[in-house]
Amino acid sequence: MKYLKKPYYIVLFMFYYITKLIQSNIVIAFDILTPKMHIKPGFIWLPLETKSKLGLLLLSNLISMTPGTLSIDYDDNKNSLLVHVLYNQENVINDLRAIQKRILKLIA
């Protein structure tokens, strides 16, 4: 069961990734093409719940590819990720947490 679960998660993750991707691109395209800028750049520290290296890599990659976020730095001491966001809102950090959960599930 465990071995079947993993491919399932992977496929699920892929889908998730692709949707995020398309979403992010549309968002950014919209933002670039419309004359008025909506952006409000800022920084966020995202605490990590795992120390797995693969997990960290996937996470940072994904964050970079999702709308409005860009992973910048990883701090070893704090075990947290510095993220640059275009739209500095409350729910961003929750989104990121959700992504992190999915990845944890994947690599567990």
Binding site: I28, L33, N61, P67, S71
Partner: protein, 95 residues
């Protein structure tokens, strides 16, 4: 009809890259610009690759395309990351 769709995907991909470069011009600060380039460019390449593999339709080309997609999606964030990190470290803008 197939060809036309390939062409459209191709154009779409190109347009995404164009968007990225417009973003590069329009955005005010470096980190925002990077948002544009990493995402839109990679996506544009992705679309172009899909078009190519559709157009040729051979296994080899499709395989190569998939490889390229993986590479791009592996490396583009890394590049962005390293640039951003060096920029941040240089300007101490963390907080």
């Amino acid at each position: 009809m197939n060809e036309i769709s390939v062409g459209i995907i191709l154009l779409l991909g190109a347009l995404f890259i164009l968007i990225a470069s417009i973003g590069l011009i329009r955005f005010k600060d470096i980190l925002s610009r990077m948002h544009a380039t990493t995402k839109a460019t990679s996506f544009g390449i992705l679309l172009l690759l899909i078009a190519v593999s559709l157009y040729f339709g051979t296994y080899i080309v499709t395989l190569k395309s998939i490889l390229i997609i993986i590479f791009v999606y592996l490396t583009a964030p890394l590049a962005a990351h390293s640039v951003a990190k060096s920029f941040i470290d240089n300007n101490n803008k963390t907080d």
